[in-house]
């Protein structure tokens, strides 16, 4: 993965966006480095699309600031219009111009003059054919958008926004209109395209695997607030709050007693992600963190459901507590069998003394 240089390209500081009386974005803050891909992850209605549109210049901020290359482009008082931001956008429904061919759509951002197309330079034509090739759309240059498949339309939308070499590319739920099989393939292709162009990007999505799989960093958002902005790894293994944990993956909590580096739980003594915790609390144990372990605790398989790559187990521990396990399908534990289980990773703790501030304990489901 392209790692991030220090200079930040985009800075969002305490940004607020209101729709009438509704505060859609409440004090969002993050920075984006050159070449970095950031995902905004959250349920629908959490304000992530609004935040994206405010960065693009389509919504006005009521407080806070947005800086691009160190220059203020959005605040309650200042507003640089969208067309002067050099920020590209890929829309959820693609917004391809229906009266222009594929090539003309891609060329749109390269044309000069108010009526466009008046001075189409040789350079612009070369750029279009280069992009068509990059997107694998060579033969389709003179087709119209309605003659394309969903995946092809999506690629045209991405290429069109890349054509004028924007400083930053915003993608609003770009894969949500595709069927699941195609979605996976397009995610890979778009990721390759973005990295081939070396463009910085912010991607809005409600799909966890999309966010974690495509982005260098993921910001999880809920009711207008960014809960955590971290690398996929740190977010998944070390969420700072139960809400951030729930948004980034499946959750399951166990009662625990902190004893410095470890916590004592029904699944045995588990390593803590942040040592130095004491007293009663809870630890997060995602179902896929539980693995077979020769010297682990014993449990009986009560329920078993094959879901393809994963097999979901419901096991009962000796204490009578039931926990759920997402095991790789290669691990063949039959119904009623007794297995020995352990936890492979250091777990995050909530509610113990010295734990992250402001964490509320909530039962996972």
């Amino acid at each position: 993965m392209t790692r991030v240089s220090n200079a930040s390209l985009l800075e969002v500081r305490a940004l607020e966006v209101h729709y009438g009386a509704v505060r859609a974005v409440a004090g969002a803050a993050f920075a984006l480095g050159e070449g970095e891909i950031l995902a905004l992850l959250g349920p629908s209605g959490c304000g992530k699309t609004t935040l994206l549109r405010a960065i693009a210049g389509f919504e006005r901020a009521s407080a806070g600031e947005v800086l691009l290359d160190g220059a203020l482009i959005e605040s309650a008082a200042a507003h640089r219009p969208a067309h002067r931001r050099s920020i590209g956008m890929v829309f959820q429904e693609y917004a391809l111009f229906p009266h222009r061919t594929v090539a003309q759509n891609i060329a749109y951002g390269l044309e000069q003059g108010p009526l466009g197309g008046v001075r189409r330079s040789q350079k612009a034509r070369e750029r279009v054919s280069q992009l068509l090739q990059l997107g694998g759309l060579d033969g389709l240059a003179s087709r119209y958008p309605h003659q394309l498949s969903g995946g092809q339309q999506q690629r045209v939308a991405v290429l069109r926004s890349l054509a004028p070499k924007p400083r930053l590319l915003l993608l609003d739920e770009p894969f949500s209109n595709l069927d699941p099989a195609l979605r996976h393939e397009m995610r890979e292709q778009v990721g390759l395209l973005l990295r081939a162009e070396g463009v910085s990007a912010i991607l809005v999505t409600h799909d966890r695997s999309e966010a974690l799989g495509l982005a260098d960093r993921v910001a999880v958002m809920q009711t207008g607030v960014i809960l955590q902005c971290d690398t996929p790894e740190r977010l998944y293994f070390g969420p700072v709050s139960p809400d951030a944990a729930a948004l980034s993956g499946e959750v399951q909590y166990l009662d625990a007693d902190g004893e410095g580096d470890v916590a004592v739980t029904a699944l045995g003594r588990l390593r803590l992600r942040e040592p130095g915790r004491a007293g009663p609390g809870r630890v997060l144990v995602r179902p896929d963190w539980i693995v077979p372990c020769a010297d682990g605790v014993t449990a009986m398989v009560m329920e078993r459901r094959v879901e393809g790559a994963l097999t979901r187990l419901r096991v009962e521990l000796e204490t009578g507590l039931q926990v759920s396990v997402a095991a790789p399908s290669g691990w063949l534990a039959g119904l009623g069998e007794t297995v020995r289980l352990g936890v492979a990773v250091a777990v995050p703790a909530f509610g113990m003394e010295g734990a992250s501030p402001g964490s509320e304990i909530r039962d996972g489901d």
Binding site: H79, H83, P114, L115
Partner: protein, 531 residues
């Protein structure tokens, strides 16, 4: 400096607001001035009108509106159902034929009804040898009903056709799978789903019946419009005409409000529909009676007026009477039609773009302003503009510019509706996409929005042209002296009770209007098929 009337964050280019607000004000000016003029002489004329003529006029006008709506329903509902849902033979041709009376002006239809069925009419001539001395009296309500039904049922028919096409046929299939017979399924599921469309279309027909002047005048049935005209032409004091005009305006605006209410309900019900066309319902042995019924409708509403006009034209030629010179009027009508359609379409562009692509409070205000003018009968608008012209715009008064101004006020709402529809169907983010690619608002308008408005603009142009060619009251009241149009010639010769002279200009109007009407009916069909 940003100047935002529009939706939050989505900035409509500022330069669009100037023409849009101008159009809104232009639409309201005559309304305002009519109100002023009607109260100028205090309450005296109001009391006078209220005591002497309000009730009979109200009763007669509403009576006509109700009867015409019922007759139109009897034609439009089966017509729409047969051409949309069944295996009626030649149903595409019937679909267009049933919409074609749009090309026939009400005064020509009225003329034809009187000439065919009146005393000493064609029917009387033919029946004379059989010993029929007198036909039942046709003037008044019967002739008015026949005339207005023939020319206004297409409005209801078009609304119902669109609603039936959009209504999900699978709900009827669901009803049948639950054990309902074909008839019960239609009555218990499809018809209730159509009710808001029926209500909206019926109110549209009622509005037409209340606003029409030429039709009721030719068959001598006195409704508000005819009373306004008689007051205007016969008395020295025009404030009574203004008072009657205001009353008619209030009545018409009430009907339009009800229509908008019904329409908003049916549009919300139709939103889900994007279904495959269902298999046509086989008519079986009913296909010939059904065809016969539609044939009678077409015969009366289209063949009859054309036939009567041709008959009179032939008689005039045979008798060697001088035909009126129609070259001048034809030229004038064409000029007015083309210029009026072009100006109206261009002026409607800014408000259409604002309301369909940007939205927001001010866009709604402008749209509502134009629709108030739309509710007012052409005669009332024309009257208001006469007053307005005499008081404030002397240099314009009795020039063709004043007439074009009247057409703009009258028909901007039609153009607006035609322009809006295709613009609304496009992805709402297209302008945002252009901005994110670095285009300034003006450039976005020129390269994205306007090209998308092109199909709507051609439909608006054709529609307004067709309507101007047929228009009578504004043309009568506002034409410069000596400037004769086809509508004017038809009207004046017919009131001189010499139908031979009215025949040729009447036929020319139908000829000019028929092609655009057919194009619109045919295209409207294509559009709904594409959906």
């Amino acid at each position: 400096m940003t100047f935002r009337f529009g939706r939050r964050g989505r900035q409509a280019p500022g330069f669009l607001w100037i023409p849009a607000v101008a159009v809104g004000l232009l639409s309201l000016a005559p309304v305002y001035y009519l109100a002023v003029r009607s109260t100028e002489r205090g309450w005296e004329p109001w009391r006078d009108v209220a005591e002497r003529s309000l009730w009979p006029l109200l009763v007669d006008s509403l009576q006509l509106a109700v009867v015409v709506v019922m007759c139109s329903l009897a034609i439009a509902l089966p017509g729409a159902w047969l051409t949309v849902r069944t295996d009626l033979p030649w149903r595409r041709a019937w679909a267009v034929a049933l919409a074609l009376p749009l090309a026939i002006p009400s005064y020509v239809m009225g003329l034809a009804v009187v000439a065919a069925l009146g005393p000493r009419g064609l029917l009387q001539d033919w029946l004379q040898p059989l010993g029929v001395e007198r036909l039942p009296e046709i003037y008044g309500l019967p002739a008015a009903t026949l005339t207005l039904t023939a020319v206004s049922y297409p409005y209801l028919y078009i609304v119902l056709r669109a609603a039936l096409r959009a209504a999900d046929p699978s709900i009827e299939e669901a009803a049948r799978s639950l054990g309902a017979g074909r008839l019960r399924a239609f009555a218990s599921v499809t018809l209730p789903a159509l009710m808001p469309a029926i209500a909206a279309g019926s109110l549209l027909v009622a509005l037409y019946a209340l606003s029409d002047f030429g039709g009721v005048a030719t068959v001598r049935y006195t409704t508000f419009t005819r009373a306004v005209f008689l007051e205007y032409t016969s008395s020295f004091d025009r404030s009574r005409a203004a008072v009657l005009g205001v009353m008619l305006g209030v009545l018409a605006v009430t009907v339009l409000m009800l229509e908008l209410l019904a329409r908003s309900r049916y549009q919300s019900r139709l939103r889900s529909a994007r279904t495959a066309p269902s298999t046509p319902i086989p008519l079986g042995r009913w296909r010939w009676p059904a065809t016969g019924y539609l044939a009678i409708v077409v015969l009366v509403s289209e063949v009859l007026p054309v036939f009567v006009l041709c008959w009179w034209l032939g008689r005039g030629i045979a008798a060697g009477t001088d035909l009126p010179d129609v070259r001048g009027p034809l030229e004038h009508t064409l000029t007015l039609g083309l210029a009026g359609a072009a100006i109206t379409t261009v002026l409607a562009l800014a408000p259409a773009v604002l309301s369909a692509r940007y939205g927001g409070f001010m866009a709604r205000v402008v749209e509502q302003a134009t629709f108030i003018a739309h509710a007012l009968p052409g005669l009332v608008i024309a009257l208001a503009l006469v007053f307005f012209g005499i008081a404030y715009a002397r240099p314009l008064y009795q020039t063709t510019w004043m007439l074009l101004l009247a057409y703009v006020v009258l028909f901007v709402p039609n153009a607006l509706a035609a322009l809006r529809a295709p613009l609304l169907r496009q992805d709402p983010h297209l302008e945002d996409a252009a901005a994110s690619l670095g285009r300034r608002p003006f450039s976005t308008l020129a390269t994205v929005t306007l090209p998308l408005a092109r199909p709507g603009a051609s439909a608006a142009f054709v529609l307004v042209f067709l309507t101007i060619v047929k228009e009578l009251p504004a043309t009568l009241l506002l034409s410069p002296p000596g400037y004769r149009t086809l509508a004017g010639v038809t009207w004046s010769t017919s009131s001189e009770a010499f139908l031979g002279s009215a025949a040729l200009p009447g036929l020319l109007i139908i000829g000019l209007a028929a092609l655009p009407a057919a194009v619109l009916a045919w295209r409207g069909d294509d559009e709904s098929i594409e959906r």
